[in-house]
Assembly symmetry: C2
Homo-oligomer: 351 residues x 2
């Protein structure tokens, strides 16, 4: 252990890395018998170049496989063309949360469609300081944050730092940052109403309301019950753990105490699937004895048996809104928070 000065800078990463490629603008210029200015113009599509000159330049560039160096161009232009996507990992959240990665996939599509690069990073909650780094070191022009839970206060602090950002998640009172999210309360309502319409009357809610999005889903659950003249009963609500290893035994134990249920709304498809298994172990079958609805419409929900009725969030649309919003911020324009609709996807588990 060596003692560290408080002001010690962080060491540079992973030592020596590759030198830049060799052929550059000056080479092309020399070979084409023009100045680098002309090459620059030709390659960037300026119309201050003779078409024949451009043709010659482009051919030369193609032959030598020359590409404009993005860093140099960016430096000179003072513009950055890269968007940071940051995954904030909750305590206990799986290292590869399917929903998050799904979102990343959609963002990758959306960004590449617009010719933007995506810088992806995952931070544990205790390292979330690095989030701002991406922008402040100029590696990204702005940041899309996935994983709002438990970071609400931090994000509010961050709002004071003036850099472009947008957050995916729940619309929380007092949020000073821009949020794009789906209507979790509506989702919870749709899921529960569906179960009620199918005749369920003792409907469990599985989810931990410490998580803002989950709390809203629970709110929708209660609203639906209310509309059907039912009072939410506390013993029917289980704040399941996020991790499968923990929540399985937890659900099994709870199931013994809860008496009978005829329906269940789980805050995630993973929990819904786990519940199906726990019920089966207890001799109950889905959907015959208990009807189950999940959330997120994860890929697997369609494959499994029984397939899982689920609440779908429009991820492609979400990705578009997130990028739109961030781009607005990067251009100094106003942002606004957006609430996206959710829809119910009916499958076997609730029939």
């Amino acid at each position: 252990m060596t003692a560290e000065k408080d002001t010690k800078p962080t060491p540079s990463p992973s030592s020596a890395l590759r030198k830049r490629a060799r052929v550059q603008m000056a080479d092309i210029a020399r070979m084409a018998g023009v100045s680098t200015a002309t090459i620059s113009r030709a390659m960037s599509g300026s119309d201050l170049v003779n078409e024949q000159t451009r043709h010659r330049v482009m051919e030369l560039a193609a032959k030598l496989n020359y590409r404009v160096d993005a860093a140099a161009a960016g430096l000179r232009k003072g513009a950055v063309n890269t968007v940071g996507v940051v995954l904030l990992l909750d305590q206990g959240q799986a290292a590869t949360d399917p929903f998050m990665m799904n979102m990343v996939g959609h963002l990758a599509d959306e960004l590449s469609q617009r010719g933007l690069d995506m810088l992806l990073a995952r931070f544990d909650l205790n390292k979330r300081e690095q989030l701002a780094d991406m922008v402040e070191t100029g590696r990204a022009g702005g940041v899309i944050v996935i994983g709002q839970a438990e970071s609400h206060d931090y994000l509010n602090e961050l709002a004071l730092r003036q850099f472009p950002k947008v957050v995916w998640g729940a619309h929380m009172p007092g949020a000073r940052y821009t949020v794009i999210g789906s209507d979790n309360a509506l989702g919870g309502y749709l899921a529960t109403r569906h179960l009620l319409q199918r005749g369920c009357r003792r409907i469990a809610f599985l989810g931990n309301e410490d998580h803002p999005e989950v709390a809203l889903r629970a709110q929708g659950y209660r609203q639906a019950l209310h509309e059907f003249g039912l009072a939410p009963s506390p013993e029917l609500q289980l704040p399941v753990a996020f991790t499968a290893g923990e929540n399985r035994p937890q659900m099994a134990a709870w199931l013994k105490t809860v008496g009978s249920i005829d329906g269940a709304f789980a805050f995630s498809d993973a929990v819904a699937m786990g519940l199906v298994a726990v019920l089966a172990d207890a001799g109950m079958s889905v959907p015959k004895d208990v009807k189950v609805v999940g959330y997120d419409d994860v890929v697997a929900s369609e494959f499994v048996h029984p397939s899982i009725t689920s609440v779908r969030q429009p991820l492609a649309l979400a990705a578009r809104e997130l990028v739109d919003s961030l781009l607005a911020a990067m251009q100094g324009k106003a942002q606004r928070s957006v609430l996206l609709p959710t829809t119910l996807v009916e499958r076997e588990s609730s029939q």
Copy 2:
């Protein structure tokens, strides 16, 4: 429609983006009463600086929230500190393939641990040309390619272009690129032997051998059969489609023609789960009537009922090897292909 000259350059993306942050090295230098060289030294941890000077500089930097501009520093140093991760999307492959995204998650962890940035991009097969762009424009120092299937020949061509790269996938004869992959033949063998040891004798193989990794798994399947004195029978092998929408009816139709089976090895967990459903529809239950083994050990395999016995590839290790190998290439060192072990994870579907 406007006619385009063949040499017309591509337009620059998404127009005007944010200007770089304002406070810079010269500002700190002025305020600290030293030269920029000293600031640079102080902030990069050089020991050619007086500790007190450094202290002063660091405090000033912290107060003004100054960060060294990564692009400028990189340009000057001629080093790039970013790794490209490219997902090559197969025809018909889900836009958010869980296995790929899982791999991305592990790579994100591994790269961030080493202080490297990750530039993520997804390309359709017909746009895979852009892969080399990442390096040739200097946005990444090298590329990790996920999604070798159908791109083998292209990757071989690419091997001629001298830029750092490494591929995740199957070790194919005649590959001129470095491959890190898991032992697919072993995986197929382990899965099938397990079924044989459990007493299965009519074991189906579900997977399309056009895909190199799948072909190797099939090879392991046949080897295990052979060891047990069984000949692989063609009707037991179904080249299932990659997409769930297609393969489900395909499996159902095939099931009617195949006569009885008592075991099945599917090339992916998704297909294994689909098979469980198809069997259930046909009045057969897993594992009682048919034992099933999948591949990839996807997150959901543990959740579902019955949980899916699966072949696990060591993804964390894979990520480490991929990054090691790419870094070697970026530093001009030799690379070597690596074959990682696979293991069987026993769950309910084969008990």
